[in-house]
Symmetry: C2
Subunit: 273 residues, 2 copies
């Protein structure tokens, strides 16, 4: 296969949360083009079955490959948990997910082998982080805590707010008693609440942001396969955004968290793929 | 068409919020059987397009008609806003929605013709309450305010909580300055936060609970069409609950708000309808 180094990287999520991953790729791999797809018509994925999530992921990958992407980042915890292994085996281009990248770093930085994970009820209930972490190091103990209000608080833009601090204090109270030294932000929205979570957890706990780690992992992988962009892109804004529903709301959120003005988001019919 | 008066009433919602409507039907029409469907796999509806919501509503009505329902209550504001007119025209049994019922009462109780509406972003953005209210009385001014955190707060069970009071104070601040005398609880979860909302709004504002008004409207409609149950039902618990995903969580919530023990909730594949 001939590799086009200047082809875009495909990034997808169940909705808007994965933009935190796209943002880290923009920051850390500024030469790379991105095609982002947010499945806003079928969000959330957290309450759906594995079979459904695999089908959705295949449709999205089909769409992204039509956009000639050279690699795919699953910027969604649920899709990474349920579909990564299956779709990776079916593709001839690299596919990476956010859970693996976060777990790898958490396992490498913990000193006392006690790692906390926060996420949606679906992600925490699946126990997927524990599966990866224990494969990396069986001595690790994983303590999970769902934080259902964090996503709507982040989407309201209340990222630095006394209400959010009180909610975080309530959610993280038990976790603070568990003597963890590392905490994985196991939902793509949570990096937006990072400073509040850090303040509540205190200095003794290292926060792992899988969005950041995934961008670094993508860079390593592209380099290893000699697929890094040559950096000769002429476009001012080499990023394209697609959604399956309500493009306007997506655009508003994208503009609030990305350092660019996302003026055009295109709605596509993902069920056709 | 031969009417079976003892056939159940079909009630549906995007998830669990519509249980507040089912609860009012149980209280006010205790002779009626109910088949409830909560579309927990595809919740929330608020962020989805009209086209998508009409398609979902048709699938659910198809399912409910298989259960031989004699009438259908759309216990979801988004589906009432987007799909009621379309599906009503397609059906040979009565179909009512929560928005019409709430608007009628609000129009009749307001003295100063200034009515507030709170709901999800989808409901408020649609302007559907204003459409109904102005049809009833063109002198009415409608002031809407989306309150996106109220649903997750209600689902967390934080219905009487200092965090919820603070969120309500922030959301309702502008509305309090608008000199409204009537406020429609335009989302099925909001009756669960009724006492907090009432406390924040103060004595001068009458709260309209469309769940209660819909139950009364259903009673009037069934009576008018000579379709009220003859009251000869022998079952101890004439209510059946269906969901499209994660039946356990639904059952827990149902048990917390209904005056019955909902021991069995059945999961069905709504995409097949």
């Amino acid at each position: 296969m001939k590799i086009d180094r200047d082809a875009p990287v495909g990034v997808f999520d169940s909705g808007i949360g994965g933009l935190t991953v796209a943002r880290e790729i923009m920051r850390n791999l500024p030469s790379e083009k991105i095609v982002y797809f947010g499945d806003t018509a079928r969000v959330p994925y957290g309450s759906k079955s594995k079979e459904t999530i695999v089908r959705y992921s295949r449709q999205i990958i089909h769409f992204l490959k039509e956009q000639q992407v050279k690699a795919i980042v699953i910027a969604c915890n649920t899709a990474s948990a349920f579909a990564l292994d299956t779709v990776k085996a079916e593709q001839d281009i690299p596919v990476i997910g956010v859970i693996e990248a976060g777990a790898k770093v958490a396992a490498s930085v913990t000193r006392n082998h006690r790692i906390g994970v926060i996420g949606t009820e679906g992600t925490i209930g699946s126990g997927i982080h524990a599966k990866y972490l224990k494969k990396l190091d069986p001595k690790i103990t994983v303590i999970g805590r769902p934080c259902p209000l964090f996503v709507p608080l982040a989407e309201e833009g209340w990222t630095h707010d006394p209400v959010t601090t009180q909610v975080a204090e309530r959610y993280l109270e038990d976790l603070k008693k568990e003597n963890i030294d590392t905490l994985i932000l196991g939902c793509t929205h949570y990096p937006l609440l990072r400073s509040t979570i850090a303040q509540v957890m205190g200095d003794g706990v290292r926060l792992v942001n899988p969005a950041y780690e995934t961008a670094l992992e993508l860079g390593r992988l592209l380099k290893e396969k000699d697929m890094l962009s040559a950096g000769t892109i002429q476009e001012d804004f080499p990023y394209r955004f697609f959604v399956s529903d309500l493009a306007d709301k997506f655009t508003g959120f994208a503009n609030s968290i990305l350092p660019y003005d996302v003026s055009m988001t295109k709605k596509i019919d993902i069920e056709k793929y």
